[in-house]
Amino acid sequence: MRGTRAAARTEVFSPHSLEAAVQLLAEVKEPVRILAGGTDLMVEVETGRSELPGLVLDISRIRDLRFVDEGDEGAIHIGPLVTFADVRRSALLREKAPALWQAAGLVGGEQIRNAATLGGNIMNASPAADGIPPLLAAETHVVLTSSEGSRRIPLFSFFKGYRTTVAKPEELLTEIVLQPLAEGAHAYFRKVAPRRAQAISKVVFAGRIHVARDGAAAVLKTARLGIGAVAPHALRLFETERLLGAQVLTPRLIEDAVRTLRSEIAPIDDVRSTADYRRAVAGNMLRAFLMAGLTRSESGKAGF
């Protein structure tokens, strides 16, 4: 008993160049849905959650949008059509963006990961997207391109609300730029879901911390934290980061940070979990991450 159905006739436009794609977006007046891997769009249409409009822009043939590069400035540039399977195959991402690399192995199942793109994960803007928290913790910017030119936006200000972004209808996501994990920093990723594959997260958390030793003390130089499924969209945890910044890492500081995190998020009860559970577990994950940072720095070992 599907709710709605596909339009009587849907035209699919499959350009091979970015120019042709943005040209189409600039010219058409009617609504267009953009198709990359199709793992969200086709499910939405099939279950009747949304209607396929008369026009679909299939960008999957634009080869120039599928790349993983290390830029001169050290940043990592990822094309939006990079699939999660591509992420898993990238030695660069495995070393320089380990949380993203880990997340990519836990999205959906094998078949989903072969089709689903990182760009699609961002543009679909699900609060529970597994790819987004690691990108937030990696201080990611996204590049949006239209026929008028490009603009660069920090990922933390890209999401407006539940499944909405600041991208305009005529804009296409063309690049994802993230910072590599700094020498000596630790990364963390944890997906809490009811099973080991094909599961939507109850909470998804990623972080990077850089701990330096100052005599006996462990000083937290920087903390970058991203979290999903606990608010209308994925969040960068700025308040918690500020509390932790340039502080001596102590069990007491960790408890303060856990409290701050729990007040910074806005989880709800839904089919997958409860607000109370999400709040409790989000704090517990931060604690586990920071405690591990504390222990590791005490033992003098770097990396997780």
Partner: protein, 840 residues
């Protein structure tokens, strides 16, 4: 990932006299299944076939005010519609619950209840037409739980049932429980809850109905019970039974979900007769969730007394079942939540009270374990609590209380062979229980649980004196043997079981046998693939038919060879003299010999279970020719930060009496581990109410496989299976069931392992991470370290039916049949369902 071992119970180990039985061999339906050649119901097609869709209610309870099919009938490709008026007669699987209509005539009772059937030339056109049908409803108040049903006796969902919206109520007592509990050293009282869940077969239900030129109709359907579907069709269609032919296609998984006659099957037959064209319907996955008939959500209150050395004194069990909108197997399910409490451990006195309520949700029914996994969960968790309270090892506590072979229990069930001691010993040794239980680091734990299950219900659904299963053999000069049997292959391997029984007796190969099964016109009746009955009943019937054929052949061969009949051996495709193996002939020559002597060769066999000693009202549910036994140890890892639990390893031992096919037995054990794990940690049929402005409807939270979570390959633990063979005198070659039993100990073993891992009790399943975190938080605050349901619903069951136990010198009859169910403040019993179905 997994390993297994086969062990014989007898001192000499496994039986050596059997040639095929007991070994691991390929299934007769295996090659077709792995090459995609099996014809499932949805694969059937016929010339001029049309497609049917059902317009289902989007409201959980409403009166139908009007149905407008005009627009639909005018649409392209549409060939016909049916409404409730076309099929006024009711049906239902049980004679006492004939409460369903093929299409609802007046009232819909759950989201998904069908109202109109429409057929068109293509499936898409049928769906478009279904959407164009307009049904006007007047919404009625809805009932969402047992408590709401008790609070709302009026309006009633059905005009029959024991009282108000209580469909069935039961109260029975075997010996004086309260008096016995006075002597107990320890009394535990616990409340447990087992959430409902569904079967999730890979194959969605499908039916093709083909009208015959002479006014008859043939139905190909994915059903586990062609015989009962045949009965329901006969009733609703108003045709002679001999004019309806039901062929059960091999099921792509059943698990109990295809055991009821369904609306779509009856509508397809009616539509085919109306149009004179074949009609196909294949349900969507969403519709399969609406058909349901899955596990009942059951709340339980269990009060049990123990002596200080751990012996059971008495138990009082109360269960409350959320039945959903229709009767289905519910009356039987209700009895099953209490009937098998006595066949594992010796329970000297026992009282059982139960209610099943109607609610505006898809009807519940039988799922693998039918009504028994719920009380089994409570029972085995409570035994774990008792072991801790008494300072006893949980395995030892169980070993102390085992039922003896041949014993008649307090509620008059006769037990046959029982290999449970050996099962417990196997998993204790395999898991290193004695060295590791209670000694693992925080977060890691072991849990143990046992169970037993029936090998076929002792009574048929319709009371009669005819066999429960029949088999017919046709042999001829080709040497081929055709085996006709009504049994239905639902993936469990029953085709192979009956073929193997015949091959073993006649000394021939599986490839010499042609099977013709599950066809109500061509095969002798078998009641269906439910209650783990096929191996024992169709197996015994097939053996009898084969023995009779063997006798005919032996007589002819003995004459020809001039060898005493008793000396002839049937083995390796030969019939020969045991004293001189060179004297003999090939199997084909032997059959030709017999055909020459007797004429055309054919034999029959049948099976009827032995009579049970119980003679009280309700004694019909629980008896079985044999009971299987299982023991299980589960190892879990619990993350106290997230409450996430990972089942790492399962050791499962199962007393199957005797393997027919060892490979299938292993498969059933592993499949049961999977399904039991699913129920323990994730699967649930959960419902929510829509907001008031959207009708406040009770809807499935998750009528899809996206969010109805079942374990994947990655979630499966390592499995170590132990097959224990303690042959039962009633079983074919001693065989007992294995399809359902090994599911039962999984949920309680997981809950017990969580307790060993982190010291908290979760008294309900599925065990979700938040429950473990809540219990850990309670423990940290000094409150009872438990997550579980609150008190059992307040309900006056009245005076129990009193049945003295065998130990008290009873005769199996009740002493107070007139008083049973009467309440002190009433003096009369409100209303009974004794008189049969709904008054319409």
């Amino acid at each position: 990932m997994s390993d297994y071992s086969l062990e014989g119970q007898s001192p000499g180990g496994r039986r050596q006299d059997l040639k095929l039985i007991g070994k691991a061999y390929r299934r007769v339906d295996g090659p077709a299944k792995v090459t995609g050649q099996t014809v499932f119901a949805d694969d059937y097609t016929a010339p001029r076939m049309v497609f049917m869709k059902l317009k289902r209610s989007h409201l959980p309870h409403a009166r139908i005010v009007g149905i407008d099919v005009e627009k639909a009938l005018a649409m392209s490709g549409v060939v016909g519609v049916l409404t409730g008026r076309d099929m006024p007669d009711t049906f239902g699987i049980l004679p006492v619950s004939q409460d369903e209509h093929a299409l609802c005539p007046d009232v819909v009772r759950f989201v998904g209840d069908p109202v109109v059937a429409v057929a068109a030339l293509t499936e898409d056109e049928a769906e478009e037409a279904m959407r164009a049908i307009v049904v006007d409803y007047e919404p009625l108040p809805t009932i969402g739980s047992v408590q709401e049903a008790l609070n709302t006796p009026e309006p009633r969902l059905h005009e029959y049932g024991d009282e108000g919206n209580v469909h069935k109520r039961i109260t029975m007592e075997f010996g004086d429980v309260e008096a016995a509990l006075k002597d107990a050293d320890l009394i535990l009282e616990d409340d447990f809850f087992y959430e409902g869940n569904t079967h999730l077969p890979m194959e969605q239900h499908a039916t093709v109905a083909v009208p015959e030129p002479d006014g008859k109709v043939t139905l190909y359907s994915s059903t586990q019970t062609p015989h009962y579907l045949h009965k329901a069709l006969t009733k609703v269609l108003g045709l002679k039974a001999s004019h309806i032919r039901v062929i059960a296609a091999p099921n792509g998984g059943g698990f109990g979900g295809k055991s009821d006659p369904f609306n779509h099957e009856i509508c397809a037959a009616k539509m085919a007769l109306k149009l004179g064209r074949p009609v196909k319907i294949t349900l969507t996955r969403e519709e399969v969730f609406y058909c349901h008939r899955g596990r009942h959500p059951v709340q339980m209150h269990m009060k049990t007394g123990f002596t200080k050395d751990g012996r059971l004194v008495a138990q009082h069990l109360q269960t409350a079942l959320d039945g959903g909108a229709y009767g289905s197997y519910g009356v039987a399910s209700t009895y099953y939540t209490g009937a098998l409490q006595t066949v594992t451990y010796k329970l000297p006195k026992y009282r059982f009270d139960s209610i099943r309520c109607f609610t505006n949700k898809p009807p519940c029914g039988p799922k693998r374990g039918h009504g028994t996994p719920q009380p089994r969960f409570g029972w085995e968790v409570q035994l774990d609590k008792a072991a801790h309270a008494l300072g006893l090892d949980p395995a030892q506590l169980r070993l102390k209380n085992l039922v003896e072979p041949g014993e008649v229990t307090a509620n008059w069930l006769k037990v046959g062979s029982i290999g449970l001691r050996k099962c417990i010993e196997a998993v204790v040794e395999g898991s290193g229980w004695n060295e590791r239980y209670g000694k693992l680091p925080f977060g890691r734990g072991l849990g143990l649980a046992c169970s037993s299950y029936l090998t076929g219900a002792g009574l048929p659904i319709y009371w009669n004196h005819m066999p429960h299963s029949g088999a017919q053999l046709k042999l001829d000069r080709s040497g081929g043997v055709a085996l006709f049997c009504g049994e239905t292959e639902i993936g469990q391997g029953s085709d192979t079981v009956i073929a193997a029984c015949v091959a073993e007796v006649l000394g021939i190969g599986l490839d010499d046998i042609r099977l013709c099964v599950a066809d109500t016109d061509l095969t002798p009746v078998d009641l269906g693939s439910y209650s783990s009955r096929v191996t024992i009943m169709a197996g015994n019937a097939s053996i009898q038919a084969a023995e009779r054929a063997k006798e005919l052949i032996a007589e002819a061969v003995a004459q020809r060879l001039d060898v005493p009949k008793g000396r002839l051996v049937f083995a390796d495709h030969r019939v020969f003299d045991a004293g001189d193996p060179e004297t003999g002939m090939s199997w084909q020559e032997a059959v030709q010999c017999a055909e020459s002597l007797h004429g055309t060769l054919g034999t029959t066999g049948s099976y009827t279970p032995p009579r049970s000693p119980g003679r009280y009202r309700g004694a019909g549910v629980g008896p079985s020719p044999a009971y299987s036994y299982s023991a299980c140890v589960v190892e879990v890892e619990v993350d106290p930060d997230t409450g996430l639990m990972r089942v790492e390893h399962v050791w499962m031992a199962h007393d199957v009496g005797q393997c027919i096919n060892a490979a299938s037995v292993m498969g059933q054990i592993e499949g049961s581990i999977y399904m039991g794990l699913a129920e323990a940690v994730m699967e649930e049929s959960a419902f929510k109410r829509l907001p008031k402005n959207r009708s406040a409807a009770l809807v499935h939270k998750i009528p899809s496989m996206l969010d109805y979570k079942s374990p994947t390959f990655l979630d499966m633990p390592k499995m170590s299976s132990y097959v224990i063979e303690d042959p039962d005198p009633n079983g074919p070659f001693g065989a007992k069931e294995v399809g359902q039993g090994p599911l039962l100990p999984m949920p309680p073993a997981v809950a017990n392992a969580v307790f060993d891992a982190v010291g908290v009790r979760v008294d309900q399943v599925p065990i979700h991470p938040h429950m473990i975190l809540d219990a850990l938080a309670a423990k940290a605050k000094g409150r009872p370290p438990r997550f579980g349901p609150g008190a059992f619903p307040a309900f006056d069951f009245g005076t129990p039916l009193k049945v003295p136990t065998p130990d008290e010198g009873g005769d199996g009859k009740a002493t107070n049949p007139e008083e049973a169910g009467i309440r002190k403040d009433q003096g009369t019993m409100p209303e009974t369902s004794n008189t049969g179905g709904p008054r319409r």
